[in-house]
Amino acid sequence: MELWVGALNLGFLYAFMTMGVFITFRIHDFPDITVDGSFTSGAAATAVLIAAGFNPPAALLAGMLIGMAAGAVTAWIHARLDINGLLAGILVMTGLYSVNLHVMGRSNIPLLNQATLFTWMQKINPGMHAEIWISCVLCVILAVFWLGMSLFFRTDLGLSMRATGNNPVMAAANGVNVNRMKIFGIALANGFVGLSGGLVAQYQGFADIGMGIGSVVIGLASVIIGESILRKPSIHVKVIGVIIGSVVFRWMIAFALYVGMNPIDLKLLTAGFVLATLVISGAVGKPESAKMTWAERFKAAISHNRMMIAVGGIVILAISIPGIRALLTHRPDAGKIHRIGIVQIVDHSMLNVTRDAFLEEMNRIGYQSGKNCLFQVENANGDMSSVNTILDKFLADRMDVIVPISTGCTQAAMHKIKDQPIVFATVANPFIIDAGRSDTDHLPNVTGVYGSVPMDKVLEMVRQVRKGKIRIGSIWDAGQVNSVYNVEQLKQVVQQDADVVFVGATVTGSSEVFQAAQSLAQQQIDMFVLAPDNIVYSALDSVIKVSESKKIPMVITDVERLSDGALCALGYDYATSGIQAAHLVDRILKGESPGSIPFEKYSRLTIGVNLRAARQMGIAIPSELLDRTTVIIAEDGKVVQKKELIHKAVQAKRLALFQFGDNELMNQAAHGVLDELKVQGVMETYPLRIDRKNAQNEFYMAQSIAQEIVSQNYDYIVTLSTPALQVTAQVNKLIPHIFGAVTDPYRMGIAKTQQDHIPNITGVATFQPVEKTIQVMREIFPRARRIGIVWNPAEACSEACTYKARDEVGKQGFELVEVNVSSTSEVMDAVRSLLTRGVDLFLTSGDNTVNMAFNSVAALLRERRIPYFSNSFSDVERGGFIAVGADYEEVGRETARMAARVISGEDVGRIPINNYLPEKMYVNRMLAKEYGMELPEAFLNRAAKIR
């Protein structure tokens, strides 16, 4: 749900950009590339002003104006200097890159702790979910925008603008100043693009120099999607098409993420989709085709564009193969694929534990979701009629085995399904719902795991806590067979103890539970004893309220709920229910008939005591009970589990490992994280599932991934690299988040000091050891004077490193010679220019642009005998001389160690950020020989590795 709402919001924000693209491409028939730059310009201006304390609307207006200025310049170059429009756009876009960097002053401006339009919105939020509230507000804004734009296009000015784009000769012949109109239109369009950039920056919580890349394609794709959905030519339909197209495009991305498609394939798919639509609409867009049938149009399209269709077809085919494969991995090699439908009645910890343990165990015994088996997990959310709908769906989808969890679901399933195997789990008593007469004599298509909480044991526990005469009160829903059964059991054991009096209250829904608890309190009960009952347990808070205010201790049968405030709990370990059910399903899938598999009882009991509640109630827990407990809630609220049960009692947790892109260092860090998590043993101790996410260096993809992680409710997030941290920090306010491979979290607003950070985010900060590198340079080359450095000012990390280098060179008596680059293709020229300026040593530090051209740089420097220093450990492998660097694998490991602490229960808020620099030196001795120098033995001894 959140995923789609988040995508909707992004779609709304990007709709302004799409409108800009619509105006340029469709109204003005002008392929304006400026958009890629003006999007960032808008974001940059807005972010800078907000960070400087301006109020968000004013900042946003500035963003729009700078966009307009950019557009005006492009159009002016095109119209007045008579330069091809595409070229004019490219020129301005390229120029804007520098302008944007100057405006921002650095490559990335965080807005995390700033007041933005969206924090303003939340201030007037009437209590809705944050994203939904944003949707509502944006919906209104876009409705106004739609109306405004539709009306604008009908004004004299709007009509003249459209005529200019449609037929400039005609417009000029009718007195329209075509050039002026073009400048105005393109400026307006880029104004919207800038506005969009400003909005997106505020929404995602930062502006980055790279965030506009690809905007034109996204915008065009959105426009085309909108057009193919809404085909009416009238202008207000076209305008709404723009908005819808933008939203649908976002949904496509969300969907691709949702089905697990690789985002990189999605991008190609988008490109292919746009190409195909352009090819087809290019042909059918011809006026004479208005009366053609679709078949004729198609034929026309093909005959007009045979070449393009052929090329497009090949491209699309090549692109879609990975996508199709991604879809197919959900159902590989037909025949061997097993379909299992799981339905639970309600979100209830007992049922959730069963379900997760079931899934986990299935996975463990070789049923991998998406590989050889398909799990469909459904939740009826407390609505019995939904259970039937779900079962119908399971039947339609031809499930091989249906696993109902809870008595109600099992009953419905048995009633509806007669010839499909059913394996139930967490059912108190299958016999009272007529599943069979005994464990072996039962319905032919039904088997499962059952067990009711032994009420005699519960009472025994009660008597251990309270001796003497007592009155116990119980609440249950008389409409549920298993509840009635459980309470009957309780009544029976009570009858055998003359000192215990039973007082009961029944309810028909969770809303009545509070009243029932109050009425019991009035009847002077000494203790609440609650038998298993889904309804009562779903409203357990109401009972706790009464329990706490009247100081009546509460005994429950669900250990998972102990921390909510009950005194003690005795129940089955429902994880075993799920695990046993998994083995029954396995047997059925291997060919056994359910009729011949006896019902199984689950046996493992868990006993829990809440010491905090005990203290509050003034109750001493006798030591013989404490000895038997497996779970203790300590006085400070921490859950302490006894080791042998940890594995079974904790449900499978999910961790999202999110890296921004693929590069050497990130991959090393990711590898370190994965390996260290294993070493730390958390993978075994806690069933932990790790999902890897990769944004392929795209900001718009990163936003969607972050939204997806949050909406999927991952238990933990580990991010690698700065942008991944930033996008995630903006959308995630609750999930424990551990970051790594980040240079400076303090500057980004994640933290003020190591201790003082956002409560749910901590991690590892790794500054590059620039100073150290320069010291090493001095040590080995006492006579060297000039150090050359090539760096990309758009990279935050590189920027920080260069600043440090500037400080350190002075201390060491060097001179730093700098050359800036903006893309990998410029690196070699930059290095050559350094060489002509006579440098003795070469340094590169944390710069991805240079890193990408590493091999050729290293080869050239080797040829010229210029020693190459860097901060990346792996550079020496690739031909560098000496690297003093952070070992990113080790950084990943440290990140994992921190994650392990969080997973085993430590509070993220209390874990300080670790400024961790696992410094290592790697020396290339072979090059030293080439330089004709002998490295001192003492120095070599300090190196971690020598080549």
């Binding site: 009306l151 604008f152 009908r154 004004t155 004299d156 000015l157 709007g158 009509l159 003249s160 603008m161 459209r162 005529a163 449609n166 037929n167 000769v169 005609m170 417009a171 000029a172 012949a173 009718n174 007195g175 329209v176 100043n177 075509v178 030519p233 006026p287 208005a290």
Partner: protein, 270 residues
């Protein structure tokens, strides 16, 4: 109304493709004159019209319209008081916009386009009346886009757009050439009506001898960028198509026409 003096235009000067398209054209056109312009292919008729419309600036010479020197004015500035219909029916309208919207663009010819909505019901009604008078079955299709109209309908509409604000000068460049004979006749009839009603000063290029003689009060013949003949109304009324051809033959004798050109004219006009 129009005074052209010593007009020169050379395209692609100083290249192998150099064309001296107008060689010192001088002509005075009185208010209300309806001139038909004839001549061989490439004789410079369209270039002359474009020069008057301001599509390019002449190399030499002057154009004065209604006592105002417009030589240095841009086309869209001249369009405030001058309108034109092109040979190509696709050229004169915005094909993705509706009939009403196109007419409204023409309505804005001599006004600033401001961000206000003036294409309201009343205006649409006025346009419907105007379109109805064309008798081209377009009055019920005001909200259809031009792309759905036939060539004849488009050309009639472009003509209507041209005369909507009563221009000082109307320029027509073979505006019926791309149409079927029936539509062509209809458009010519409309042209005559509009010019007569508005007493418009008109320059019309044609390749039909018939049209050249029957329409208008003056005929100018061009050749190789020069005006080689100027026939008054009186003379026109006397002339038949073959007389005109004889005239061509005379011109040949005076060595202002070559044999091939004469041949071409015969082919073109008969």
């Amino acid at each position: 109304m129009i005074e052209i003096s010593g007009l020169h235009k050379t395209f692609n000067a100083n290249t192998v493709n150099e064309v001296h398209a107008l060689k010192g054209i001088s002509v005075a056109i009185a208010p209300g004159d309806f001139i038909t312009l004839i001549g061989t292919n490439g004789s410079g008729k369209s270039t002359l019209l474009n020069a008057v419309a301001g599509s390019f600036l002449p190399d030499q010479g002057k154009i004065i319209i209604d006592t105002e020197d417009v030589t240095a004015k841009k086309d869209f500035q001249r369009a405030k008081f001058m309108s034109r219909v092109f040979q190509n029916p696709f050229m004169g309208t915005a094909t993705q916009m509706t009939i009403a919207e196109n007419l409204h663009i023409a309505y804005l010819r001599d006004q600033e386009s401001l961000p206000r909505i003036r294409l309201d019901k009343a205006r649409c009604e006025a346009y419907r009346e105007a379109v109805k008078a064309l008798e081209m079955q377009m009055e019920d299709r005001l909200d259809n886009i031009i792309g759905s109209l036939s060539g004849g309908q488009r050309q009639a509409l472009t003509l209507l757009m041209a005369v909507l604000r009563r221009p000082k000068v109307l320029l027509l460049d073979e505006h019926t050439a791309a149409l079927d004979p029936k539509s062509a006749n209809q458009v010519i009839r409309l042209t005559q009506n509009f010019v007569e009603q508005g007493n418009l000063t008109t320059l019309m290029v044609t390749h039909s001898m018939q049209q050249a003689l029957q329409v208008g009060n003056r005929t100018i013949m061009m050749n190789k960028g020069e005006i080689i003949d100027d026939i008054s109304l009186k003379e026109k009324q006397r002339l038949t198509a073959s007389d005109l051809l004889d005239k061509f033959a005379d011109l040949r004798k005076s060595e202002r026409l070559t044999d091939e050109m004469l041949e071409e004219l015969r082919r073109e006009y008969i």
